[in-house]
Symmetry: C2
Subunit: 512 residues, 2 copies
């Protein structure tokens, strides 16, 4: 385990802890101290890795912070109940108070998020706390349109490469830069072991697409897939502690003809596998026909559904078509079934969508899925950005998050071309933090713009160290600046771009 991964938190911020009022909890946050004596407290995804007394060991894993809460509840209720069940019964869990504290990012006034507000949103199905009882290592976090926009980073080896250690390191690297959840999309060998290592060492919720492992179990032969194999896989992953499952239960037989005639057909791996299976057997999607059984299973662990969009558009030409929206309607139907079982739900969304068609996605999703949190991949607003698709997609992501999407799945510079390396993961995560943060500001999330305000004041005061520390990537900002200004020892009283005689802010300050 590479402890050095977390040096950033040591150089630009100190770890602080805010205690709960309803529960015996302490919530870790980052406090950035400024040169003018003020400070800015920000959300922190790094968990124990930034605690001074913590020593990482991939073999033992990280502390199980939720274990006492889960045990106490089990004692009381006699069985695992979901966060949705507690919310509906008017009970504020430690998880709910925890996320309320985190969401306020240290703000103490204004339109603050309260534990009761968290409970209400969860009860209404408009937010979830993904929290498998078998993954007590994860710090609680909330996904819902009234809260900070979250981002997910995908990791996972494909058949073409990368080891277990590399994948754990990639996951840690992603949360260092601010990933709120991690999806392990491993295929190929060592799926179980990779996932185990990630779950025991990562302080954020972990999602998977169980179909990938189910397909490995039948040696890649789609025809041999069955409900039995899938269910066995699901139980294996439930027991390991996966917090949310992408399940492609919404793609139905009737949708397949709509999809195969598209410009780019089906671009979701899970979607294409189910479409192929239905076509071979001429039967309805077994994830749809067994959906209530899946609900029964997932509620026993409090695992959340991420209802997969198997028919998301893979090109602008296919955006908002009958295949995509047909599936979305089915996802709304499935969400209502999940809620009946007290199972938490989020809905996955596109994909490739031109700017003028983005809002319709959000509007229809809210209507058909009754406000269940939306979780989108981008969307990419053009198809010709290969090599820059973190940007092509960040444009769409910022917009759709402003419109109400609760979580964004990052896209890296390597999208469509190759698998991301560490640099790509960092660039992708920071780009998505930016998109999410821009949306938080536009939505008016309490306190979101405070960091920007402090950054702007630091700019106007030429407090360079504060500018670096308030940036989403302090290391990069500092490196870029000092590549030019070699005079490291002192703060320069002018902007590096214009030179000392042409600094607009310096001139402004001299105006009487």
């Amino acid at each position: 385990m590479d402890k050095e991964l977390f040096d950033i938190a040591k150089t630009n911020a100190k770890k602080i802890h805010v205690t709960g009022k309803l529960h015996d909890i302490k919530v870790g946050m980052k406090e950035i101290s400024l040169q003018n004596g003020e400070s800015v407290t920000v959300y922190d995804t790094t968990g124990p890795y930034t605690e001074t007394e913590f020593t990482a060991d991939i073999k033992t894993g990280i502390p199980k912070i939720r274990k006492p809460w889960i045990d106490a509840r089990l004692q009381k209720e006699g069985e695992i109940k979901t966060q949705l069940w507690y919310a509906r019964h008017g009970i504020i869990t430690p998880e709910m108070e925890y996320v309320a504290i985190r969401e306020n990012q240290g703000a103490t006034e204004g339109n603050l998020i309260t534990p009761e507000m968290v409970r209400e949103e969860i009860a209404a199905g408009r937010a979830i706390i993904p929290a498998n009882c078998k993954h007590p290592e994860a710090e609680p976090m909330i996904i819902g349109s009234k809260f900070l926009v979250k981002i997910n980073a995908n990791i996972g080896n494909s058949a073409l490469g990368s080891s277990i250690e590399e994948e754990v390191e990639k996951a840690l690297w992603a949360i260092k830069w601010g990933a709120d959840t991690v999806m392990d999309l491993s295929t190929g060998t060592s799926i179980h072991e990779t996932r185990e290592a990630i779950l025991r060492n990562i302080p954020v919720p972990v999602g998977t697409v169980p179909m990938y492992q189910a397909l490995e179990k039948v040696k890649g032969n789609v025809a041999k897939l069955s409900w039995e194999v899938y269910k066995e896989t699901l139980i294996e992953q439930c027991e390991q502690g996966v917090d949310y499952f992408t399940i492609h239960a919404g793609i139905l037989k009737k949708h397949v003809p709509l999809a195969v005639k598209r410009v780019t057909g089906i671009v979701s791996r899970g979607g294409s596998i189910m479409a192929k299976w239905m076509s071979i057997h001429n039967e309805e999607n077994f994830l749809y026909t067994h959906f209530e059984e899946i609900c029964e299973l997932m509620k026993k662990y409090d695992i959340a559904f991420s209802l997969g969009d198997g028919l998301r558009p893979g090109s602008l030409a296919d955006a908002n078509d009958d295949a995509q929206f047909g599936e979305l309607e089915t996802l709304g139907e499935l969400a209502r079934i999940a809620w009946k079982h007290d199972v938490q739900v989020i809905i996955e969304g596109p994909g490739h969508v031109p700017m003028h068609k983005i809002k319709e996605n959000m509007d229809k999703q809210i209507e058909w899925c009754q406000g269940a949190p939306f979780y989108t991949l981008g969307p990419l607003v053009s198809d010709i950005g290969a090599g820059y698709d973190h940007i092509t997609s960040a444009i769409g992501a910022a917009m759709i998050a402003w419109y109400g999407t609760a979580m964004l799945c990052y896209v890296t510079t390597k999208e469509h071309l190759s698998l991301p390396n560490k640099d790509d993961v960092r660039e992708g995560v920071v780009t998505y933090k930016l998109a999410a943060h821009a949306a938080d500001i536009a939505k008016g999330h309490p306190g979101a713009a405070y960091r920007d305000l402090q950054m702007s004041r630091a700019r106007y005061d030429f407090r360079w160290r504060d500018q670096f520390n308030l940036s989403l990537d302090p290391e990069r900002a500092q490196r870029f600046h000092f590549e030019m200004i070699k005079d490291v020892g002192r703060d320069n009283e002018f902007c590096a771009m214009c030179g000392p005689n042409f600094c607009a802010m310096r001139i402004t300050k001299s105006i009487d």
Copy 2:
């Protein structure tokens, strides 16, 4: 002169020429040949550098393609008339037909741009062709909301570094990646010589901020600035061939108190200089009081105004405030004066603006400036993206361009930190081409989405070479892909991200 700069055009496209029907003109475009026998014609900013028979020589400069057109008109009218004058007199100039052909990007059907449409938009003040009669080297291009969104790349040495050759190379590098205009923002020594080298060697319109050189002439002493020094500078630059001038005539005495109390004051160099001058002399902005004289001068060359936003917000906290909108109203007033003199006008805009406040900028600009083309810097949708501000700003840029902004000034990764190097210029230009292209699609510009459609078909057919060539940065796309797939010799029938067994598109194709 580095001819190798333009290798890209040779590897992914061939130069073709489309001839005019009204005038004896030929318009260069890029034709990308596809592996399936089809081709895609795209807009080309590289001018003679991609002509096979052309040999670059920085001493002699590039051919003066507009010289015969200018000479013929001078013969006829006896003096230089502006494109606005011709448009208002119902005359379609060669420049107008040229841009109409370019705008269609080789499309031959659909809602095509016609020379008459170009004339109408120019006559109405809703579009301009920046074209100083002393800069016949520049290929005509049009800036207006009904046309392709254009991007500008800033270059220019500051007091802290870079040579004339480096600046010319930077400008060529910018147009290689698709910059539609270049602004030379040089300060410090050799301003005149740098500009001369750029103008004689660059096939796109060039803009400047004459105030920078005027201030150099009084050795940086703002108090000594005067209308006389400024006018002398203006004439010098008019004669050299600058196509559009950023002139900060809209910042008035009454605005200064509104600006100095802001979080980040004045962040425009020109704006801060004028504010300082007004404060020292307690007089009204001499660019405002001499505005009609400036119009008289500029119409003799057909130079366009880029009315500077000296009070653009430098932070989210200052966005859409009284200072910014106060100046914008004045810019509208000045636009009407310029039009009275048949001088073409564009209006500069922000800056730093949160997403939910972007549209108001566009709406007010259209209303107050009566549809004069808007030319914005970003806007950046957050202040904390240091090191990633090409992305922070591309989000706002794509949105405001969709709303109607005609030209986007690029922002590089080094914004707020340092001056861009060659890699930064490339990254910034391609990022802005993406933002502009996304807006073209959202606006429904004829043919804009055709390249995306061909890209998507190439993806679905696993035609990798076509995917690279249809990308905005073929070199990068290809490099990223082959870093992973070492099997360079053949097209791989699966997506590099998922490996051969998990390729959704391959599975889709196998569905009966």
